[in-house]
Amino acid sequence: MASARADRLAEQTRPQAGRKTGNLMLALVALAAVFLLFMGFLGALKKGDLLSEQNMLYVAVVFYGAAAALYIGYGVTGTNRYLRFALFGIWLGFIANTLAVGHRWWDAGRPPFSNIYEMLLSFVWTLAALTLYVERRYAVKIIGTVTMPLAVIGVLLMQLLPAAVRPLVPALQSTWLHIHVTLAMLAYAACAVSFALAMMFLIQDRVKTETFLLSTSAMLTAIYVGVASRFDPSGGLQVVAWNAESHQEIFIAEKTRLMVVIPSLGWLFFVVLAAVLAPLALVLWAKWNKDERGATWANRAFFLSTLLQGLALVAFVMRARQGVYASPQLEGLFATHLSASPFILAGLVSGLFASLLYLMLFWRRSDLQRMLPTSNVLDRLTYKTIGIAFPLLTLMIASGAYWANQTWGSYWSWDPKETWALITWLVYAGYLHMRIARGWRGRRAAYFAILGFAIVLFTFFGVTYLLPGLHAYA
């Protein structure tokens, strides 16, 4: 799985190869997909579980990944044919994804919404469905450039989470749970689409490429500062240890996890941090000195940092996937696993995708602008998707309140997840008021939509892992 990803990433970071002939990249992607599917098929034959949910998801992620690669390939080379094949890829992936969802539903005898694994499964499905819908209904041909990488990240994250169908604890045995979570997934997927549209709007609205460089670099810096904070004085990287048998983290005291140190990986991440800081510094320096060459150098540095990020990801996956390492807390060697570091992995993968998206923008901006609907249409579409997301958010909160009232005897208890859902709701309410009553259009509205999605992400992931409360099982 991981090496397959690495293959594809390597392919994406060598964009110049595809610039000469459009067929080369198509052939490469097709070959990679066939190879991956064939390998998966052989593995499944050996195990004799050809039609399992895992395998269907595998097929889905291969096709989504191929679609993402083609979209990015289009972004780099501007070959129109890629888009057709990419759409075809989404369809195939979507079919496999639907089968996986159906399989799980059948297996569990209830809709798949009861834990974060199943919610991601449904989220990815909804995302693909919405992508197909928006692409068909509004002819936003390249919406997949943003949503497909998101889908791939979602499926990859799912591989790391415990997948076994677990029986529901009593509090979750309610129809309202399914209603609540379905609404949440739909609402969040709509928010994701509005985010993608807002980003496209900014591209069409002639926001300077430099600004995108600046914000991408700032995001990358935040990610790598986060990862590098796990630096161990010995030069290694601290990761959480993993008990392979029980599929759990190892706790040595209440709320204290056992950590292990992967040697010399810490230095690598420091180097990458420096590499992603470089374009940021160069842009700022160029702005300060009003020096034209600064931007050129910043983009070169950015390209270099993207290569380094790919390298860091491969190194991290290779070393954290398996192996035993020493721990600073206890004597002896302990195992770790990718599942123990979902945040680092998600951060690295999303950072890399964001970088690739930026490079695509940098190399092919005029083609992109030609392909995208006009800024006016995008602006209105963003508003329309939020017009779908907001009632869904409202209903999600209401159904959650009703369910809580039936289970705990209180419809609102200011639990962190509830509070953050409310904050999300208020932010989008603010967007709607500014737009309807104060006539905010265009760039300001787009920034607002992006802010809204950032808060959705925090509510979905951040609150689950950082601020535990009543939603502890989600």
């Binding site: 677990r166 029986p167 604890v169 009593p170 509090a171 045995q173 309610s174 017009g387 779908i388 907001f390 009632p391 409202t394 209903l395 209401a398 309140a401 009703y402 009232n405 039936q406 289970t407 705990w408 005897g409 209180s410 419809y411 609102w412 200011w414 962190p416 509070t419 953050w420 409310l422 904050i423 208020l426 932010v427 309410a429 603010g430 008021h433 500014m434 309807i436 009553a437 104060r438 609150v463 601020l467």
Partner: protein
Amino acid sequence: MARETSRFIDSIIKTLSSIRTGIVLLIIVVIASAAGTFILQRPLTDPDKLAKVYSPQTLAWLDRLGLTDVFHAWWFILLLALLSVTIVLASLERFPMAWRSFARPYLRPEPHFLSGLPLQQEIPIRHAATAIEAAERAFRQQRLKVQRVGRNGDTSLYAERQRIAHLAAYVVHVSLLLILIGGMVDALWGYRGFVGMTKNEQVNQIEMRDGKTRPMGFTLRCDGAGQENYPDGTPRRYWSTLAVLENGREVQRETIEVNKPLVYRGLRFFQSSYGPTGEIGSVRLLASSKADPSIRKEIELQPGVPVALDADTSVNLAGFIPDFVISGNQIASRSNELNNPAVQLSVVSKDAGESRVWLFPKFPDFPHPDNAPYAFQVRELEMGYFTGLQVSYEPGQWAVWAGVILMGVGLWMAFYLVHTRFWAVPVNDGRGRQVLWVGATASKNRDELESRFHKLVAAIEQELSVPVEMKEEEEEDSVPVA
């Protein structure tokens, strides 16, 4: 002076009703709420943990600012109240305008309105009356409820859809106020508490969070409780059978589960916990006479109920320890789980007097010399269990649910209803020609209006191009069918 006061009040009202104030308040509420999720909150976190995480000085400041209980702090409530006032004032200020467009449809557009409309078209006609008739047919064909405005010779057409869309924002705001009012009623008059019961126990008061008790006004009896597990040992279901007694008479009996509360007189009882009390519930024993091993008897013992073994001997429960351990010289229990249970019996016989007997079901061969006339073996042991019920009283919840439903309606109206209006007016185009002026507006979603408008214009042109005589024939033909 009076005028100045009124001016002052005016300016306050103006400030409060402005959308800017609303947004600023919204931002403050968002920041305060976010702070409330990052800072550990008082009722949920125990004081030890707070003391561990924050230094005493920080904690004192956080407490003073209400930041350790943000959502119940006076300033947070004040913020919400201010926000409600802003919503009310802003709605009141803008309501007359919306009401006017709702209550008084603009039936006959003025020339200046006509000329300013972005979506309009002029269709040349010969005769105003026939053109109106043709247009009327076209309107109907497009499923528009058309009405004639004005009198003979000066007739025009008007049609509209979903006029109610103008009121959507007010519906949403009223629903929001309902929710806030319901929440405040519950914050002021609602309460939450806890009732713990064992089987057959009767309770008539609630333990509140602050340690006080509160009478229920009726009695609750627990007739049974239990837990069922999945094969892997995780709990699948908790249940309690409860009976409500009024003056000793049973008026309601129900089995509740985690998602299924019992409701009586506005009080709701929720299954919230279930577990061993650490006391014995019942034990089944095999008693065999030491004198004559052929005399064997199976008995069931419950606390406080002595059982006769023969005419001279009776046995009673004297003590129970669920998880027996001797620490130092003392007998203690490590936990409330049945890990190493120990049962103490008191056997009273005429000849030997009272003797105490210890039984260890996990170690049946453990020697325990006693002078009781019988030897005992534990066949089955059941612990006493308690069921924990969460109690809540929320008189305001109905306002909240009404508000939620109303909000659903309001949002649907706001996003999916569009007030569209269509006019057809015969006018002179200024060069002596008669034309039929057709125009349309929509409160939003212009794209869709445009396509509807073009369809309508095409339909009118079609109707106009069909000769009148033929039309009439056609209509005559169609009469028998209808």
